[in-house]
Assembly symmetry: C2
Amino acid sequence: MATKSRLTYSFGASRAEGNAGMREILGGKGAGLHEMTRIGIPVPPGFTIPTAVCNYFYAHRRRYPSGLENAVNLALRKVENNLGRRFGDAANPLLVSVRSGARESMPGMMDTVLNLGLNDDTVAGLAARTNNPRFAYDSYRRFVQMYADVVLGLKSTDKAAADPLTQILDAKKAQRGVRLDNELTAVDLRDLVRAYKREIKARLGKEFPADPYEQLWGAIGAVFGSWHNDRAIAYRELYHIPHHWGTAVNVQAMVFGNLGDHCATGVTFTRDPSSGEKSFYGEFLLNAQGEDVVAGIRTPRTIGELEQTMRKAFGELRRVCRLLEKHFREMQDIEFTIENHKLWLLQTRTGKRTGFAALRIAVDMVGERIINKQEALLRVEPDQLNQLLRPIFDRQGKQRAEHAGDLLGRGLPAGPGAASGRIVFHAEDAVAWNRRGERVVLCRIETSPDDIRGMDAAQGILTARGGMTSHAALVARQMGKVCIAGCEALQIDYAVGKLNVGASELREGDWISIDGSSGEVFRGEIQTRPSEILQVLLTHSLDKRQSKIYRQFAQLMKWADQTRKLGVRTNADQPDQAAIAKAFGSEGIGLCRTEHMFFQGDRIQAVREMILADDEAGRRRALAKLLPMQRQDFKAILDIMGRLPVTIRTLDPPLHEFLPKTEAEILELAQVMGVAVATLRHKVNVLQEFNPMLGHRGCRLGISYPEITEMQAQAIFEAACELRREGKHPFPEVMIPLVGSRQELREQRLIVDRVAQRTMKAYGVKVHYAVGTMIELPRACMVADEIAEEAEFFSFGTNDLTQTCLGLSRDDAGKFLPSYVLQGLLPDDPFVSIDRDGVGALMRIAVAKGRQRRKGLEMGICGEHGGEPRSIEFCHQLGLDYVSCSPYRVAIAKLAAAQAALRK
Amino acid sequence: MATKSRLTYSFGASRAEGNAGMREILGGKGAGLHEMTRIGIPVPPGFTIPTAVCNYFYAHRRRYPSGLENAVNLALRKVENNLGRRFGDAANPLLVSVRSGARESMPGMMDTVLNLGLNDDTVAGLAARTNNPRFAYDSYRRFVQMYADVVLGLKSTDKAAADPLTQILDAKKAQRGVRLDNELTAVDLRDLVRAYKREIKARLGKEFPADPYEQLWGAIGAVFGSWHNDRAIAYRELYHIPHHWGTAVNVQAMVFGNLGDHCATGVTFTRDPSSGEKSFYGEFLLNAQGEDVVAGIRTPRTIGELEQTMRKAFGELRRVCRLLEKHFREMQDIEFTIENHKLWLLQTRTGKRTGFAALRIAVDMVGERIINKQEALLRVEPDQLNQLLRPIFDRQGKQRAEHAGDLLGRGLPAGPGAASGRIVFHAEDAVAWNRRGERVVLCRIETSPDDIRGMDAAQGILTARGGMTSHAALVARQMGKVCIAGCEALQIDYAVGKLNVGASELREGDWISIDGSSGEVFRGEIQTRPSEILQVLLTHSLDKRQSKIYRQFAQLMKWADQTRKLGVRTNADQPDQAAIAKAFGSEGIGLCRTEHMFFQGDRIQAVREMILADDEAGRRRALAKLLPMQRQDFKAILDIMGRLPVTIRTLDPPLHEFLPKTEAEILELAQVMGVAVATLRHKVNVLQEFNPMLGHRGCRLGISYPEITEMQAQAIFEAACELRREGKHPFPEVMIPLVGSRQELREQRLIVDRVAQRTMKAYGVKVHYAVGTMIELPRACMVADEIAEEAEFFSFGTNDLTQTCLGLSRDDAGKFLPSYVLQGLLPDDPFVSIDRDGVGALMRIAVAKGRQRRKGLEMGICGEHGGEPRSIEFCHQLGLDYVSCSPYRVAIAKLAAAQAALRK
């Protein structure tokens, strides 16, 4: 670390060495504290150790840069002078909090220590100064417990049990016959601290540190260390936060919400983070510290009630909130403490919100002239739009079992949407059950950052304790998960693996349903119906004008359409999918997989006849049966899409996919088809492949059996010609898969062109059409210039291109790919987001070579990456013409494309 | 075709419009005729229609350029004037031959018509002019038969039967009680012509053309048409002759070797094409036409005998042969005809030869100062060296069956080497049997160009008729096949599927052995022993000085070593392979596959224990058993290779390859290992993969189980340290497979480096070593710059790179790849010769990126392409440092590398 770099940044008394623009250096929390101080908002004084120190710490075997100790001491002196208290002073002690703060908020992921500076001497001074021994010992008790957990690493060995100090606390409460912490006396609390220290000594073999400076450096080290704890790493993986950013450390004077009944602590949002409504929204606890709110140990009161209790502080809080939203031009998530009627701000940051809220806030703020349309487009995470499309419960629908749908209880509607799943009680179980295909609802007394993977794996989260700003609620909203928090009627017994709601008892594995929009918990599995937006768009059961959320959605989509450069098509194999896509404003079909039609109804019979045929004549007979069915499919899809392009891919999967695998299935099919078992078994054996992914599939089938391509082309052009005769303007694009050389494409396009000419002549009409190819092999990228001579369009098949480029079978990679991503061997799961350095580099070559050889070559992507925002951004950068994604992701893709255009 | 292009090139009477440098225009035969005419050698006059006309013909639906007819007529006039005869003149007719002639010789592949211009009128004139009615009608009979076959397409419908006209001829001979054609009288022959014409009319429904001009254009069209017949296409595929070259047509005045006993026709080579010996070598038939020699219908006499029959013509032939070899500075293959003691040359071309002959001629000609060393290196096809290493029969060895090894008969030693195989009688059977893994010997009365694929599929070829210059002999020598021609004791009955040699009868499927160096045919399968060169190099059973062929071989290798830029290493997994490679002058080991060692003896037991272990500790226990065995292997190999680099690849194949597949095998192994069947079956199921090629293998294993890499590294460095302690200088290069990102390589090299440091410290020695990677994934090529930061060397694994680049599983491609190559969809089998446009383009990117990031990065190739001459040329062009190939291909690779350097 360069010696000139600053090692601390102080703030306090309306002066700050940093500002809001210094997130990279100070972290989000630090930058917010400095900025608030600067604009005159009451913030307890303190200082920030910048992120560069964190990186130094990891680059130098957990040592600090020389000079840090000195800089920290100097910064601490400023705080002391500012407040007139001294750190470690027995008479008038300064207590501090030590908190992490990365560039992006990672709620609850890293460590925090409060009330630091207390020991047996200073606690007495605190008691004397505040004239409140109970408060002083309560703070002391909290500090020792938190420090033991965070810095000393004291954990329970039994996963189901509470940690050792909580057990001691619970025992004390039981002994004293009380339910809540604040019912314990000062003496109880002093005894507890002693008992805690004994337990720590017994378990760790050393004394709890009494020296405030030793405490301080322990806490700083713990905060830096927490940057690389498992849950923080997992969080960063999930949200694509680079590991090299590092965290800052904020050391700040304590203010106390637990000094008595004129004290409170709470969290507010400048708008409702669930609905986005512009209302002053928040929760608080009287006589408590902030951790109590976030951890969900006591269910807090809504912010409105604060007005009755502390009118002046409430007014001040409201003023400050308005000021902060205006200053930052964004919805803020604010932590505050009221110490004897005096308001202190401890944090402000951009508030996490549901998709509903994100949409509404963005559109509203444009209406309020706070932001412009471009900013609004950037304010909604594309994936959040998914939430708007999520089904809601259809209580009228048929239920699965008796009593299914019985209302069990109510909690806080913390994450909108409807979810059914089987009950699990532990995050690890959620992950394991999900992996084997089960839908689960994670039911917890409260959640902690350790549960993050389990929350991701669950359909929904249900907690017994905690408010709208509890960990469960915050994380669920960000993940777009259905969540009900603080369902107080819920009693969970982890040990037995059961939960009780009123008179009902449910066990692990039982079905439960939760409505995260209403807060209702139901027994059993409940059918769902489309979301409000889908009711407008698809079922027309709601009028556009009636639905506010639809109008907001339509507004955002309009702005996105005006902004984006990329076209958005859809992958649809069936007319109903095409209709959905059209309703979402898809600009064509980018991939229609003809083989999906092969599996429908009795078609599979004709397909199998074709495969079992001994010669071309036999294949042609079977194909003739398929022809009218395919024609009908294509006609319906082409009709729905009007003049828009419909890209139809010729047969792609290896033929063995259409035959049975097991001996039993072979026996059965042989009987059904009336062929000899031996014949069928022989064919299955002959067609078997070692590596089907790299086998006889794609255009290789059409080259071995040109009559297949011929039949499919005929079905396409007969369908198109029929429509043309009806005065319509269908636009089929015939796409040849798995092409690796110009000659392959040429062979296939000759067939398509011949059939097209013949069919158009027979019908006496002209149909506008194109022939092109998938680009899904590395070789195709390397010879894209040659292929472009035969292709009117390229469509990147990034699923297969990823498999071949990385030599990675998607079906097999599950065994090691997750740990690969975790270990940082690959930046992302390449099947989720395009591997830019590998697959992306091949695509870049193909784009350049293709365009160089054929001006105006149309290029798109039809792999699943076509619906993933970061991949869409890459496609925009590549200069593709369009992305194609699943029908329900069309809106997401449009927004992502608009954002890509704005970011360019 | 540009109108200015010449449409014919005339030659005759010491003047020619073309020369030897015009092969591309005139074809090889044409260029030879023009050049011979130019230098005063007696050549019947004629003209050449250039190859461009052939390409015009195919580009314009088999039409000719305007003006061709006129040009042909003019050229014909010149020939008429030159000889004082007229085409179609009943009194003094000019007869011509019409022959194909491509840039490269394609012996027998395309069509020829002789004696053209005969009809019922001109035959009488010919009879009168030559005063030899028998000759005239013999010529007429030959012409009609040949024209019917070549131009009119008259074929037998029964594959086993002779063609219809031959049946008529055979019937006539039987009726007249004679054995040979030349025992028939003029009247017999006239009757035959009439019978032929009747048969043609009956079968084809039209008269045989009497107009000589109609005959001529029919023949020209047939020759052009034959460029695209199946056997010509197959030949070009086999020898990589581009289809777009086209053929020329040579129209030339006939001279006659069948005018009587002062006439002869024959073929000579300026040196022995089998051994390379500098001796005047050839064969002739008295009173015959050239086709009789080539077709092998009569077994010809050796050229020496000509001296007794026609001393003057013999002397002239000898003089002309010397002149031609000197003129062309190459061994020549010459066709001649003697018409009434007058010698005419009909063709001269570079002679095909065996590998033995190629080597000897090249080395001898340098000694004779005809060519220089560079030319000598270019005169031997690298793959021909294979013949020198081919085993010879070990008659002392143990035979398989009673009577095996009994001498059945003798024929001409037409293709050296020893071959055993099962008898097949038809080319298609040879192909089919070979495909299912059988070794076969193709036994034919005579071979024809239709048999070429069958000859390629057979171990050896045995014919009953034909000489050293028969079709079978020529093609076998070129292919490097073992061949015995003209084994007159052999009687083959195609219909029954049996052959008789003396008293012995053998049936299809029986074993037979042929020695193509001695001409001996043996019953049964015979064991073999190493070739002479291998006896010198490997068994030391022969002294270097005793072996002439070894001295020639060593000479050529010395020149190759002086010339080549590419290093040549070998792929060897075991000490004996390393020793062979060393003997051949390998400059290191480019690929030592450690897993091959895993299968030896009882090691597989420890490997399976490792796989079945539940945890790392269990794996480590099993690995500890493997450690001493691997150390021992590595020590032996490193010891043999001295200071040369030994590239050792860490474990590559997926673990399921070491486990059983079928239920029966699982049961058996469970018993042997003493584990529960269910446990084993479960493990087998868990490890099963959909696409093993793209699965959990390569460095992915070492990353999942670092202890495997650790054990292997430990074995390598313990072996190296032990040798170093013994005063030796081992040089291990540790190679990490299937790397796709820099981070993967880094993880693995950290393990290797750590183990290396630890081991060297423990042994108290320093060992020179390197760590590098395979480049075998497209992604690795795209990020080769990043990978180069961790890699001291790259080794292209072109087997896997081909599979991933083309999306083509080598195990599965067999079903469609051959037809792909045939249809021209791919220029070559990409697993045989590097696909330059796809795989090669990726390699080019990797080379550039690798070198750009790390100066002096060592680069080689260890895929099977490393031993294939055209791929080696590409590696030279890429600027790789070395190729690595199988031990027996080291010499081939060295020669190919030298040629690449000379061609650059």
